[in-house]
């Protein structure tokens, strides 16, 4: 049963399996185990990032192309929900319309970008996505009538998802059963389903062809697979998933703005998480996102503590200040690319594989 759900792509390492189970259970029970708004917000952010990172991994890890437009699709999804809710009123039908429109726009854009640039060279794609994404972001902050400009859009959700909606009179296990909780489990269910779908995709014949093209484009083409078709396909799927992620993000935050949905920082975070978690493994997205988002929320506090220790030391104290946490992440990132190209998941699998070989005569 679990084998089939995971599309026969098992963790293949005991520590990894435990880690994944811990992540899954932790997120499933987050509202009950870690009470408080702050913790629930972190958990929801983790969920959204799992989906975003996993879909980005489809491009970077499985297909071997670098895109900088992933957050653009996140933005499309988020704005789709936001604009439909503000224009058409807060009900399910308008959410559906906004979501469908966002999906359609994402697919069309991804298709156009892929066909225009993936034909030539993978490196073109990286540069073109960077250019298009920044143009799109400027567009969003300029069209202030539609998107609210730099301020973004605040909007209302359908009745059932509002925090003020109480389903039970009494709190269950000390947690109020309200619209917020329902939103969280909506996110949880959607992300779980989409991750399983993604596992299905990467382990399908289509996914195998993607990996073949990544390993040796010339050979794959010689066998009769057209790289541009498969790469564009992967690009469209990744864009659609990113769009879903953006929609979920908007549902959770009840706000969409250029900074929260499509800033370059989110793009960098995605890149960092994919590499640190492990490229070409959907599980890396899960483990990486949990570690990264939790670290991001607590690393600054840690740096503040460290800053207190080295206070007075001239150079070190500026380097350890909480504002410079991205510096340390950048260093970690470079080291990860050099020394752990497989990331956390690759490392664990390698260890398990080496142990398995030792046990055999």
């Amino acid at each position: 049963m679990i084998r089939a759900l995971l599309s026969h792509d098992l963790p293949r390492s005991k520590p990894l399996a435990l880690l994944l189970a811990a992540c899954f259970l932790g997120l499933l029970l987050a509202p009950f185990v870690f009470p408080g708004t702050q913790a629930l917000n972190v958990a929801a952010k983790v969920l959204v990032f799992i989906l975003l990172v996993a879909s980005y991994d489809l491009l970077l890890g499985y297909t071997g192309i670098v895109s900088f437009a992933h957050t653009m699709f996140v933005g499309i999804g988020a704005y789709g929900i936001a604009i439909a809710s503000t224009r058409l009123g807060p009900d399910w039908a308008s959410l559906a319309i906004g979501f469908a429109a966002a999906l359609a726009l994402s697919a069309a854009l991804a298709l156009a970008m892929g066909l225009a640039s993936l034909r030539v060279k993978a490196i073109f794609f990286a540069m073109i996505t960077l250019a298009v994404a920044s143009a799109f972001m400027t567009l969003c902050s300029q069209l202030s009538e539609l998107t609210g400009g730099e301020d973004g859009l605040n909007f209302q959700l359908p009745e059932a998802l509002r925090p003020s909606t109480e389903f039970l009179e009494e709190p269950l296990l000390g947690v109020a059963i309200d619209g917020r909780l329902l939103s969280y489990y909506l996110l949880f269910a959607a992300v779980t389903a989409l991750i399983l779908l993604l596992l299905r995709i990467v382990n399908s014949p289509f996914g195998r062809v993607l990996q073949a093209i990544r390993e040796n484009e010339f050979r794959a083409e010689a066998i009769g697979y057209r790289p541009v078709v498969y790469r564009t396909g992967a690009n469209v799927i990744a864009a659609l998933l990113a769009c879903c992620g953006g929609a979920l993000l908007a549902l959770w935050l009840r706000y969409t703005g250029p900074e929260t949905a499509m800033s370059m920082e989110i793009m960098l975070d995605l890149l960092l998480i994919v590499v640190i978690g492990g490229m070409g493994t959907v599980y890396g997205a899960v483990v990486g996102s949990v570690l990264f988002i939790v670290a991001q929320n607590y690393l600054q506090a840690l740096l503040k503590a460290a800053g207190g220790l080295v206070e007075g030391v001239p150079v070190l104290s500026t380097l350890v200040s909480p504002d410079r946490w991205l510096l340390w992440l950048g260093l970690l990132f470079v080291l990860a690319v050099y020394h752990f190209p497989g990331g956390i998941v690759g490392r664990l699998r390698l260890a398990a594989w080496a142990r398995g070989r030792k046990g055999r005569p």
Binding site: L60, A116, A122, I123, M127, A131, T318, L319, P341
Partner: protein, 310 residues
């Protein structure tokens, strides 16, 4: 160029915009030439090129602040000396950091495109953070030396003095680059390396050294361009590198990756189109460069001057 003449209305406006566009294009060319050479010769796409731009610009703020008496004196020569010192310092620090960057970050990943993008991106993050740690995250104003403010009037065409200077510097760099590339043995080796790396190695030349030299020279040019760019913008933020990087990518894609002439044409086109569009339809100006790139790629997917044998 001429196409825009009837659109702008009067010949003097047109000439004005064209000169401004050429000046901007030449500055972009100074920055982008290093990037395109590094890509052509070493097959390394440096996403961290922006760091050198920012470094140059920040160094200029420090030098000009230190030489404030020179920069604000009414004497033109003292002003120019201050500016020259700023340019030299910007180039020197960018070259030094470029040397380290090549040695530490880029060298271990020759020949692996995906890792290059990731590593140079990481270098960009680290560099930007270090710049913030050194100079602070705020915008630092970078005023022009006194003698370079104001305009020359030629008939009814007004030309900013600084743009003339930037244009002159750009032309000098262009001529120097073309002379080195086309008239010297070094240039011959570099061009040969762009065409066919292995053959140059087989003939007994150490292409590694050439790589380092080109990378450092490219970084120094980026530093120089950063100084000029900062002066045009009249201020420097740590994000300046990332912003200019985008423009650079558009330029070298238009020109054809690795081609010097293509880079020049691309830079001039981008500068001109940005200026015309900024005058005709300010809102559309934000997208004019992207539009230009898409149009050219639809026409010639490899860029204007594709480099063969890759």
């Amino acid at each position: 160029m001429l196409l825009a003449l009837p659109l702008t209305g009067s010949p003097s406006t047109w000439l004005n915009l064209t000169l401004a566009g050429i000046a901007m294009g030449l500055i972009i060319f100074v920055i982008a030439s290093g990037l395109t050479l590094v890509f052509g010769l070493m097959d390394v796409l440096n996403f961290g090129h922006g760091v050198f731009i920012a470094l140059g610009a920040f160094m200029a703020t420090t030098v000009l602040a230190a030489l404030a008496p020179w920069a604000t004196s009414p004497d033109v020569l003292a002003n120019l000396a201050a500016l020259a010192a700023a340019c030299a310092a910007g180039m020197a620090i960018a070259a030094a950091v470029g040397l380290v960057f090549e040695r530490v970050l880029v060298r271990p990943v020759y020949g692996q495109h995906l890792k290059q993008i990731l590593i140079t991106m990481g270098g960009m993050i680290i560099g930007e953070e270090l710049i913030k740690a050194t100079w602070g995250a705020q915008l630092i104003p970078l005023p022009l030396p006194d003698a370079l403010r104001g305009i020359f009037l030629l008939g009814d065409v007004a030309v900013e003095k600084f743009r003339v200077l930037a244009m002159l510097i750009g032309i000098v760099v262009l001529i120097a680059l073309l002379l080195v590339l086309n008239r010297t043995k070094l240039g011959l080796l570099i061009r040969a390396g762009v065409q066919d790396r292995e053959m140059v190695e087989a003939l007994g030349y150490r292409i590694r050294r050439l790589f380092v030299g080109v990378f450092v020279a490219g970084s120094a040019l980026a530093g120089l361009g950063g100084v000029l760019w900062g002066l045009v913008q009249q201020g420097v933020t740590p994000q300046i590198g990332g912003q200019v990087n985008l423009l650079l990518f558009i330029v070298i894609i238009i020109g054809g990756l690795g081609s010097t002439v293509g880079c020049l044409v691309g830079a001039l086109l981008v500068g001109l189109v940005a200026n015309y569009a900024g005058f005709l339809a300010p809102k559309a100006a934000l997208f004019s460069n992207i539009g230009l790139m898409v149009a050219i790629l639809l026409w010639r997917p490899q860029g204007l001057y594709p480099v063969g044998a890759k």
